[in-house]
């Protein structure tokens, strides 16, 4: 069966520091991969999606970037964090067709 791993679970980082969140999927190949951010009291906002290795599309302009170095690995990064980057980040995967997305456990990022 397919599983998705996301780490770390929580992170407290100072303003201006770099960020790297990692997500890996097991049990499937060539998944669509996504990074979402959830602000308090709001729905999930799609940040990035990837349909294949090295293929990244951004949904919103921001201080973050994403990379997909391997088929089942998706990384969310920043060179210098801002206070506004605080939030709950969720990685997800879906099949290539019209299918539901499955989420990782999320990373709660607090920028101080």
């Amino acid at each position: 069966s397919q599983t998705i791993h996301q780490w770390p679970a929580t992170l407290v980082q100072p303003v201006g520091s770099p960020l790297s969140l990692e997500c890996t999927v097991e049990g499937t190949s060539n998944p669509n991969l996504y990074w979402y951010r959830q602000a308090a009291g709001r729905g999930l906002q799609l940040l990035f999606y990837s349909v294949g290795i090295g293929q990244i599309s951004s949904e919103v302009p921001q201080n973050l970037s994403a990379s997909r170095p391997q088929d089942r690995q998706f990384i969310l990064s920043s060179k210098k964090l801002l206070l506004s980057d605080s939030g709950f980040y969720l990685c997800a995967w879906s099949g290539q067709a019209n299918t539901e997305a499955f989420f990782g456990q999320g990373t709660r990022l607090t920028v101080v």
Binding site: R42, G43, V51, N98, T99, E100, A101, F103
Partner: protein, 112 residues
């Protein structure tokens, strides 16, 4: 602009009550409507609705889609405290990848 609106934003009920959660959408290239339950971290998938008027059921939960009026409802009968969660509705937009557009969620609290 694509949008998904959920109502109510929060709801407090007692065990045994029946609740109806609402989701309306305006999404170009709409494919399906999905419901997720988010208790603490990862949203877990409940239903995906693609055809109008066909009810999907899982235990005490059921959902239906109206593609003419652009809305969906999620019903929970005989609520239990374990039903307390945020219920997220998402429209699946078809555009080469599975883009999910989420509503803000309905926070349901079931009291004993």
């Amino acid at each position: 602009e694509d949008k998904v609106v959920q109502s109510p934003l929060s709801l407090v009920v007692h065990e045994g009550d029946t609740v109806t959660l609402n989701c309306s959408y305006e999404v170009t290239n709409f494919r399906s409507l999905l419901w997720y339950k988010q208790e603490k971290k990862a949203p877990t998938f409940l239903f995906m609705l693609t055809s109008s008027g066909i009810e999907k059921k899982s235990g005490r939960l059921s959902s239906i889609l109206d593609k003419k009026e652009l809305f969906s409802i999620l019903n929970i009968t005989a609520t239990q405290t374990g039903d307390s969660a945020i219920y997220l509705c998402a429209a699946l937009h078809s555009g080469g990848y599975n883009k999910l557009i989420f509503g803000a969620g309905t926070r349901l609290a079931v009291h004993p």
